[in-house]
């Protein structure tokens, strides 16, 4: 059997970066605790064989206190060799887990990461002495730049079961750590740096809140700006100038009829990419030209925010608000990730400690947090071109209506869930990492990894969605069900029967449903009806991929509960909006 090597260490010490370095595989790493909530497996070449390398979630101790730490414990049990990644700038605290690991009769090697940072901070560590005291190899590394990684690999075979450290009580371990630190570490006094000052400004409430608002708004403004530019200057011209003539000439070859409608356009000889509904036109244009540019921009900015270490500070500022919703400040992380795509957002709920917190976070995420694909299509629906005659107010008024409804819903639903869901909501307990300058290579690589994930995982779904809708249209199923459901939608939400088409396709992929909305002839919906439909679409069900994730995270029983909540929320919001906006 292959040898299994497991990376273990406190949260946010850079295990995932070490993992990428050792395996050449790409995993997401950030500057905040809890990025890795599941384990990643990879292959790593030793001198003459391959071993399996596992990146475990961070843990402070071998006695787990949340789900991610339980995963770490499990990984530990099946390991043949442990690479203990230690943050050299915070040796004292990291050594607790190290001692626990050393007591367990498994071969251990220690990677002393962030070695470069210790120099900036005026911390001197005698690594030779540390090696002597712990009885296992200690190798200083800088995972971000790759320094020392080769040395780590070379000495991997020296990993041994220590003979110096005896199992002891918790108190005993701390005494031991105290004496080790005294022997190996000296700290110089240093002056405050700009990073300390920035850290202070962003976490003091007086300056922190305005800065947080500024950072969030400018981030989203930048996403829109960058996205619009990629779309307008790169993808739109590509589609219009090069792709359109090509597709039209193919169309001529096919000739009018069923196949033409299916592949190219509902109207013979006319191709409007947003509305043609053909597999090769709208099916490609929606994901590639309308969604992808914003995905690129979003993940680029998210990577920067993550790598600087800002997010835990935001979590601190938001803690109070999220407490009212039964979570704590860390609940902002799933929301942030979910704004890109709900699937990684769902995974991030694992870093919350109790079932109640995870349930609330996951349910609210699927109800009220639109993913970027949806958001960019919302922008398309409420654009001047699409609204046309239907617009009574400026387009942004409608967008504002949709988003403020979602925000209000997030808070009201969270407040109610907090009061009704049984269980505990423990207080926040979160490490605040030092600010780090994002390493541009890492940032770009991470952005690229996420984009690739989107192309590989989300794009086929969108394409499949267009395909299915086209089939259902062609066989007349959509019209049939639209007629059948018409009375319900008209009675409850004051919407035309066509809405059922949209909501149906929305279950496959919401962004696509919004695309279907775009393809209806002008005048089918009034602007306010569009607001209601778009809001309902976001609320009623998450896309299939998110649903599967929800099932995985919550289990069947809680997933069903969450589903009932979604239906109730959608109905309540739909009816209220109808009363408020349509006045009937």
């Amino acid at each position: 059997m292959k040898k299994s090597i497991v990376l273990m260490g406190n949260p946010n010490v850079g295990k995932s970066v070490v993992f990428s370095r050792l395996t050449g595989a790409n995993v997401i790493a950030s500057n905040y605790p809890g990025t890795t909530v599941d384990f990643s497996k990879g292959k790593m070449k030793l001198t003459n064989e391959y071993a399996e390398l596992i990146d475990a979630p961070g843990t402070y101790s071998l006695e787990p206190s949340n789900k991610a730490e339980e995963v770490a414990k499990k990984m530990f049990n099946q390991a043949d060799v442990i690479i203990n990644v230690v943050n050299a700038t915070n040796l004292e605290r990291n050594l607790f887990l190290t001692l626990e690991l050393l007591e367990q009769n498994k071969p251990v090697i220690i990677a002393l990461n962030m070695w470069d940072e210790t120099q900036h901070l005026g911390i001197h560590i005698d690594e030779k002495k540390l090696e002597q005291l712990l009885g296992v190899p200690v190798i200083p590394i800088v995972a971000l730049t790759g320094e020392g990684i080769n040395h780590l690999v070379d000495r991997l075979s020296d990993a041994t079961i220590n003979k110096k450290i005896q199992p002891t009580s918790e108190e005993g371990r701390w005494i031991e750590i105290g004496s080790i630190i005294k022997k190996v570490e000296t700290v110089e006094h240093r002056h405050h740096t700009w990073r300390d000052r920035l850290s202070d400004l962003t976490i003091q409430p007086v300056t922190g809140f305005p800065l947080a608002l500024g950072i969030i708004f400018s981030s989203f403004w930048l996403v829109l700006l960058i996205g619009e530019n990629i779309k307008g200057y790169l993808l739109d011209p590509l589609f219009e100038v090069y792709y359109k003539p090509f597709i039209l000439s193919i169309g001529e070859g096919i000739g009018p009829g069923f196949l033409y409608r299916f592949l190219i356009s509902q109207t013979y000889g006319v191709v409007e990419f947003e509305e043609a509904l053909g597999m090769l036109t709208t099916g490609l244009y929606v994901p590639l030209a309308m969604v992808l540019p914003f995905i690129i921009a979003f993940y680029f900015l998210l990577s920067i925010l993550e790598d600087t270490g800002y997010l835990p500070r935001l979590a601190t500022l938001m803690d109070n608000i999220f407490h009212k919703l039964g979570m704590h400040g860390h609940g902002i992380i799933p929301v942030f990730l979910g704004l890109g795509c709900n699937v990684p957002g769902m995974m991030a709920t694992r870093a919350l400690e109790t079932r109640k917190q995870r349930f609330i976070a996951a349910t609210l995420l699927s109800i009220a947090v639109p993913c970027l694909a949806q958001t960019s299509l919302l922008f398309a629906i409420f654009s001047e071109e699409n609204l046309g005659e239907a617009a009574v107010y400026a387009p942004f008024v409608y967008l504002l209506l949709v988003f403020s409804t979602l925000i209000v819903l997030y808070f009201i639903a969270g407040y109610i869930l907090n009061k009704t869901v049984k269980g505990e909501s423990p207080e926040i307990f979160l490490e605040i990492p030092s600010y780090r300058m994002p390493h541009w290579k890492t940032t770009i690589k991470k952005t690229w990894m996420r984009i690739r994930w989107f192309l590989k995982d989300a794009l086929p779904w969108m394409f499949f969605g267009v395909f299915l809708i086209n089939v259902l249209y062609t066989i007349g199923f959509i019209e049939w069900i639209a007629t059948a459901l018409q009375p319900v939608f008209t009675a409850l939400f004051g919407l035309p029967g066509e809405t059922s088409v949209v909501l149906l396709s929305g279950f496959l992929r919401k962004d696509l449903a919004v695309g279907t909305l775009l393809s209806f002839p002008a005048g089918t919906f009034s602007a306010m009806q569009l607001v209601i439909t778009a809001t309902l679409l976001t609320i009623y069900f998450p896309c299939i991929a998110t649903f599967v994730m929800l099932l995985k995270e919550l289990g069947i029983k809680d997933m069903l509960k969450a589903t009932v909540i979604m239906i109730i929320a959608a109905t309540t919001v739909g009816v209220s909006l109808r009363l408020l906006l349509l006045g009937v």
Partner: protein, 80 residues
């Protein structure tokens, strides 16, 4: 003069103090311990969020945020 111990939550921002005691269950104590919050350690408050929000503290060169309730159960002595 004998020093008086106060809950960490009552310590003013940017004041240095020493941890003298912690109340709470074994689980709570353990969790704090693994993060380096122990008797005898020096601690400073970096920030306090309004309306009984969380505190950000600095202990052994590392910052962390913890809830007001937890901070209430950590007793400290102000250092002069």
């Amino acid at each position: 003069m004998e020093k008086k111990s106060i809950p960490l939550s009552n310590l003013p921002v940017h004041t240095k103090a020493m941890i003298v005691d912690m109340h709470g269950g074994i689980h709570f104590q353990r969790k704090l311990h693994t993060l380096g919050i122990r008797k005898g350690q020096l601690i400073t408050i970096v920030s306090k969020q309004p309306f009984h929000g969380p505190l950000t503290i600095k202990v052994c060169g590392c910052q962390m945020t913890l809830g007001r309730g937890m901070a209430h159960r950590i007793l400290v002595e102000e250092q002069t």
